[in-house]
Amino acid sequence: MEKFVRREGLVAPMDRANVDTDAIIPKQYLKSIKRTGFGPNLFDEWRYLDHGEPGMDHSKRRLNPDFVLNQPRYRGATVLLARDNFGCGSSREHAPWALLQYGFQAVIAPSFADIFYNNSLKNGLLLIRLDAKAVDQLFRETLSSEGYRLAIDLESQTVTTPGGQRFQFDIDPFNKRCLLNGLDEIGLTLEHADKIRAFEAKHRERQPWLF
């Protein structure tokens, strides 16, 4: 996982509540056995006018000009601004993969679905919860000024607007440490291998039918 430190980038607005993972990356792309190649299919059904299937040359497909990410002013965006319950639905990790591979490094919303939240952090996609009022303001500013950029500092847990206004966000210290250092969580857990083994032995004694 890549380290997430300070990032500064163009903001794109996704002004819908309850954006689900089926919308973020439709099912036909889940057939892949790889971890990469999902970027062109982020929001596939909204983004293109035709129907996409794996293996197509997606650069030749007809783009939906009304879809927000297709507007030239949001090209190259790295911060996605979203509404409540972003990422609800299935546990597909292809959703954060697609967002990252498209180029997003962070998503800001009032709330996220639980599994999506975990999946994202494990892949170095920073999800930032800000209160609905702050998010409303960021939407207004993004829409009204072209080239609107935000600076995100994970160390100090702040989002800073071009006007210098700062919003503080919360993040669990463990997740923060993993993101900042690009840590391998499996490696961290395996540092407790002896403890796991000891637990397992006792657990087997108590409930042998589980083994």
Binding site: S32, K34, D114, K195
Partner: protein, 469 residues
């Protein structure tokens, strides 16, 4: 000892280690694996030179991509086929307690086969790279849906690293009305608390209504906990649980069974145990439910109407509703019973067990699917469900009425195989998600119970199943 919830008991009895900040390592007893969310996890193991920690915890099957007819012809789509073959190869290389591959007569939807094989047992922690893992909570388990990185983590360490979610209890009291099922109950719950209402919580379903539900009804209920935003749902152990498990393939036998049962009896919330939130429902108020929008929270009763966004004050919600109605091609204030359908799907891990098929068969017995319905299909949840249904002659009841009787799998719940809606088609479906494009690009999904889907098939539009003789 202070009064503890069922959830506390499950959590504490699996706690391996806890950091000062509350991050815990939770030991995992059962790891269910399917073809869609596992290839990248196995690849990760391989790249890091790691092995599964405990192969005996793994129960695997291919279900999402598998076709539901012409099994002798194999899997046509090469991309799907490669994914299923990749699972075959991974299980061969890394091992499992048991694997139900494509074409096995006991293959089926992962959340159907775990319980029916007795591979899901009370007191277990269960994970699967699939959000509907919450289903297994019906057995007094702590069951979480996880992503692919977590699948790899559990494979390598037998643990989940997580913080303890908060506890919510949903109390439902009184008998459900005739024709009202567990599916209607969970849809009503989601309508009440919202699709994010359970975010950050593990839910315990309690109360006399829940006690009276069969295991299959409890599974339907727990299945859709995720549609309420909760990662886990659970029901305390009682006679119904124990009776269901007795004699199943992987359930303990003999003296071990007695010991297990004695332990399972303790898997209930103590009187006075504290929950962070409690929600109450009166079962008598629950009516047959139909979703009208593109999120399970967009639900109403069968005698209701499609709502009018104009009456919604919150602009974000209003816009959400308008978008959903446009996608669903529905006008505000349309009566639910005036919505005509193209396809009927009875299946998915929510409602594809034997009781679901029995209820639906009773509704259609001796009747015909309306001529306006292009396709009505029944997809049993597993090979064992299919065999049982055929033993009871249910397949004949369905086919005589004009339904197609298919091979088991996820099928049109998400349409990773050929079973899909065409753009614009409208479906009454017993699955759990009505998101845009879920059953096929441009397809329109209405979530209902098996009884309601069966009744809609006969009428060609939604009808109140209680009024069908």
């Amino acid at each position: 000892m202070p009064a503890r919830t069922l959830y506390d008991k499950l959590w504490e009895s699996h706690l391996v280690h806890q950091e000062a900040d509350g991050t815990a390592l939770i030991y995992i007893d059962r790891h269910l694996v399917h073809e869609v969310t596992s290839p990248q996890a196995y690849e990760g193991l391989r790249l890091a030179g790691r092995k599964p920690w405990r192969v005996g915890s793994i129960v695997a099957t291919a279900d999402h991509n598998t076709p539901t007819r012409d099994w002798d012809k194999g899997i046509k789509d090469p991309v799907s086929r490669l994914q299923v073959e990749t699972l075959d190869a991974n299980i061969k290389e890394f091992g499992a307690k048991v694997y139900f591959p494509f074409l096995d007569r006991q293959q089926g939807i992962v959340h159907v086969i775990g319980p029916e094989q007795g591979a899901t047992l009370p007191g277990m922690t269960v994970v699967c790279g699939d959000s509907h893992t919450s289903t297994h909570g019906a057995f007094g388990c702590l069951a979480f849906g996880i992503g692919t990185s977590e699948v790899e983590h559990v494979l390598a360490t037998q643990c989940m690293a997580m913080k303890k979610p908060k506890a919510m209890r949903i109390d439902v009291e009184g008998p459900l009305g005739r024709g009202v099922t567990a599916k209607d109950l969970i849809l009503a719950i989601i309508g009440k608390i919202g699709s994010a209402g359970g975010t950050g919580y593990a839910i315990e379903y309690a109360g006399s209504t829940i006690r009276a539900l069969s295991m299959e009804g409890r599974m339907t209920l727990c299945n859709m906990s995720i549609e309420a935003g909760a990662r886990a749902g659970m029901v305390a152990v009682d006679d119904t649980t124990i009776h269901y498990l007795k004699g199943r393939r992987f359930a303990p036998k003999g003296a071990l069974w007695d010991r297990a049962v004695a332990h399972w009896r303790t898997l209930v919330s103590d009187p006075g145990a504290r929950f962070d939130q409690v929600v109450s429902l009166d079962a008598a108020q629950v009516q047959p439910q139909v979703t009208w929008g593109t999120n399970p929270q967009m639900v109403t009763t069968v005698d209701g109407k499609v709502p009018d966004p104009k009456e919604e004050k919150d602009p974000v919600k209003r816009e959400w509703m308008e978008r959903a109605l446009k996608y669903m091609d529905l006008k505000p204030n349309t009566r639910i019973t005036d919505i005509a359908l193209d396809k009927i799907f009875i299946g998915a891990c929510t409602n594809s067990r034997i009781e679901d098929l029995r209820v639906a068969a009773e509704v259609v017995r001796g009747k015909r699917v309306a001529s306006s319905i292009k396709l009505a299909m029944v997809v049993p949840g597993s090979g064992l469900v299919k065999q049982q249904a055929e033993k009871e002659g249910l397949d004949k009841v369905f086919t005589a009425a004009g339904f197609e009787w298919r091979e088991p799998g996820c099928s049109m719940c998400l349409g990773m195989n050929d079973d899909q809606l065409s753009p614009g088609e409208r479906c009454a479906s017993t699955s759990n998600r009505n998101f845009e494009g879920r059953q096929g690009p441009g397809g329109r999904t209405h979530l209902v119970s098996p009884a309601m889907a069966a009744a809609a098939a006969l009428a060609g539009h939604f009808v109140d199943v209680r009024k069908v003789s």
